[in-house]
Amino acid sequence: MTVKVSMSVNGKPVSGEVEERTLLVSFIRETLRLTGTHVGCDTAQCGACTVVMDGRAVKSCNMLAMQAEGAELVTIEGIAEPDGTLHPMQEAFRQHHGLQCGFCTPGMVISAIDLLKNTPNPTEREIREQLDGNLCRCTGYHNIVKAIAAAAQTGGGVLRR
């Protein structure tokens, strides 16, 4: 049986018919075709599926689409300016080469925004500790940490939505 689910994604109202067991990440990727949100481990460990729901970073592979009914979501596709100007966190990742293969990057960027929102001026140690929900299989953490430290100086913890 399918049910209707509605929410706001990147400022736009969206809805779809889903099975009750549909995961939020499947709704985002398969129904909405927003494929920037990745499925890495599919066991809520790697954080590649991280999105912002009602202002907080969550793992969209570990929750039902129905749990996001009525919520406001922001995915990696929704953080840049409408004219294409990168979000300060994206720009910092670009400047500091905070990625290697890039698979973990969407989740890293979303988590890092949440990190700076809650800890505006983190030390390097705090950044490393608080990235606990995201794994980079390339082990490219050095530049990710540098990027987040740099983004702390450029408004990297703020989402326009």
Binding site: E20, L23, T43, A44, S111, L131
Partner: protein, 264 residues
């Protein structure tokens, strides 16, 4: 995951009545354990009753000497709460150590306590701080609440509404984490209530438990050396690829010493 029927609970009473009547139905709190279990097909509920919209189950209240946390309050909220940090800093730092950032943004205290995972963090705080679990039917003392692996005193249709923690004189939680899942391989919560000392251990056995010998020694003298030579027998402790029983037994003493040192 297997299919199921989903419903959003309109009230605690409705949710309670539904799960009491439907024995294969499950309550959904933050879902950080339940959804993962269902994805692995280790759990096959007929229905999920989502408690996510019940505002009355959320929030933190400090009254007198008691911190009361609503069942649907998320770990991140407890960790960030200025009131909890002031009243029971060990509880706020325990909440901060659960899982990871995203899990803390979804997982709830009620879900964790009701699930009673052998390696969950909150049960150790509930037991060591002698907290009271309030449900829609009654109040349950911590010593009567945790019954075994994933087993609690909760009856069918019984829903946790809040957990009340008396403020201790001093307390601390120390855990040896699994580096991947961040679950406690061994976690020890030590609380000095002023009248007695309680020591609760999570992660080491099928269910959170107290260590009477350590409590006695710490009641006589609250110092790390009081527990240094007290070893919990390895019989009955968990043994798996992460840590054998003898290693877990060793870690209990080490974590207890660290917790006492941190509480001083």
């Amino acid at each position: 995951m297997y299919s199921f029927k989903y419903q959003l609970a309109k009230s605690v009473a409705d949710a309670s009545a539904f799960v009491a009547k439907n024995s294969d139905a499950k309550l959904l709190a933050g879902g950080q354990s339940l959804i993962a279990t269902m994805k692995l097909r280790l759990s096959q509920p007929s229905d999920l009753v989502d408690l996510g919209a019940l505002a009355e189950l959320r929030g933190i209240k400090v009254a007198g000497n008691t911190v009361t946390i609503g069942a649907m309050t998320r770990h991140a909220e407890v960790a960030a709460s200025a009131e909890v940090k002031k009243a029971i800093p060990a509880l706020a730092s325990l909440a901060w150590s659960i899982g990871d950032r995203q899990v803390r943004n979804m997982g709830t205290i009620g879900g964790s306590v009701a699930h009673n995972d052998p390696a969950a963090d909150y049960p150790s705080a509930v037991l060591a701080l002698d907290a009271t679990v309030t449900t829609n039917k009654r109040k349950i003392a911590a010593d009567q609440f945790f019954k075994g692996m994933y087993e609690t005193a909760l009856e069918p249709g019984e829903i946790i509404t809040s957990v009340s923690f008396p403020c201790p004189k001093r307390a601390a939680y120390m855990k040896f984490k699994n580096p991947a899942s961040r679950y406690a391989i061994v976690g020890v919560f030590v609380a000095d209530t002023g009248k007695a000392v309680r020591v609760a251990v999570t992660g080491a056995a099928p269910c959170v438990f107290r260590v009477a010998e350590m409590e006695k020694a710490l009641s006589a003298k609250f110092a790390p050396e009081s527990v240094a030579s007290i070893a919990v027998p390895e019989k009955g402790l968990n043994s798996d690829l992460h840590a054998k029983a003898d290693y877990r037994a060793h870690l209990i003493t080490v974590m207890a010493k660290r917790a006492v040192a941190a509480a001083l």
